[in-house]
């Protein structure tokens, strides 16, 4: 079943890199939604069915930490698989995000790190449809 994905990052280049990575790893993709901050991300979730959200931490208007906190307070977002993709280096903050059920992928990331996080957080198994590379993003 194709997965609808939400990518939340204030960098258009990073959103494009993540989307390219999702294609490289051969994930069965449905709709891909994009948001430039946590507030836009929550709005996108209210308007669309999303299976997985990939979210940056440091963003203007609403950061990813606050977005995750608000999300977990809603019935729809309580169990949504969320992967934080960030340069965040504070173990304190990373552990706080993980306690809220999010996976963490550190930038720069390899496609395999995204694939592994998706498999672990969703429990899905799939056959990659294209060749994965060792490229770092």
């Amino acid at each position: 079943m194709p997965l609808n994905i939400l990518v939340v990052d204030d960098s258009s280049v990073t959103r494009a890199m993540i989307i390219k990575t999702l294609k490289i790893i051969g994930l069965p993709l449905g709709e891909i939604y994009q948001a430039a901050n946590g507030l836009e991300g929550i709005e996108a979730l209210e308007e669309n069915w999303v299976d997985i959200a990939l979210v940056d931490v440091n963003m203007p208007i609403m950061n990813g930490e606050e977005m995750l906190r608000q999300l977990r307070e809603t019935p729809e977002g309580k169990n949504l698989p969320v992967i934080m993709v960030s340069t965040e280096g504070s173990q304190t903050r990373i552990e706080s995000l993980q306690e809220q059920g999010a996976k963490f992928v550190h930038k720069p990331f390899a496609p395999e790190a995204i694939r592994q996080a998706i498999v672990e957080i969703t429990g899905i198994s799939y056959e990659p449809t294209s060749t994965e590379s060792d490229t770092d993003f």
Partner: protein, 177 residues
């Protein structure tokens, strides 16, 4: 005499260079190249500059300047574009430099401070003046690195609030080694 001897506050030159070199390599496939002192690259003409502010146990700013010819390959490499391929619709190529700076900053702070403390990193900004700043009021330059890369030259400079205790920062960095 090296830069550290010339300016005793430049305590993070090596750390900054290591992290910047690694980030350019992993994120944009740009590798450092050996340079002769007489090489024109030693007097680079900067084409683009960006800065990012961070706040936390101490506040500061990180700057990056690159030569003009670097921007296109930087964005193309980060986006994995084939030769002649245009960036996806809505993607701004300058965001590549901002994201690169963001990654350098995010990877640098836990090394020079501590990986338990929390920093908030603002959104990087493209600067009107691409030249690396010499000084900033109420800030100390604690690291600078000039990187000759295979696609151009980059300069990275780290400034922190002048009130910061440099000996504590040095201790934190030593503990991470």
């Amino acid at each position: 005499m090296n830069q550290h001897q010339q300016n005793p506050t430049l305590i993070f030159n090596e750390t900054l260079e290591d992290i910047a070199e690694q980030t350019f390599g992993e994120l944009a496939f740009m590798l450092t190249m050996p340079q002769d002192e007489g090489d024109p690259a030693c007097q680079p003409v900067w084409g683009y500059g960006a800065s990012v502010d961070f706040t936390g146990p101490f506040d500061g700013k990180l700057f990056v300047s690159i030569t003009a010819e670097m921007m296109e390959p930087l964005a193309a490499n980060m986006l994995g574009l084939e030769p002649g391929e245009e960036p996806p619709e809505g993607v701004k190529v300058e965001d590549a430099l901002k994201e690169l700076l963001n990654v350098i900053c995010g990877n640098l702070l836990p090394v020079i401070a501590d990986d338990k403390v929390i920093f908030n990193i603002a959104s990087p900004e493209i600067l009107a003046d691409p030249n690396p700043p010499g000084t900033i009021p109420k800030n100390l330059c604690v690291g600078e690195s000039l990187l000759p890369l295979d696609s151009g030259v980059a300069c990275i400079k780290l400034f922190v609030d002048e009130a910061v205790d440099l000996s504590q920062l040095q201790q934190g960095c030593a503990n991470d080694d």
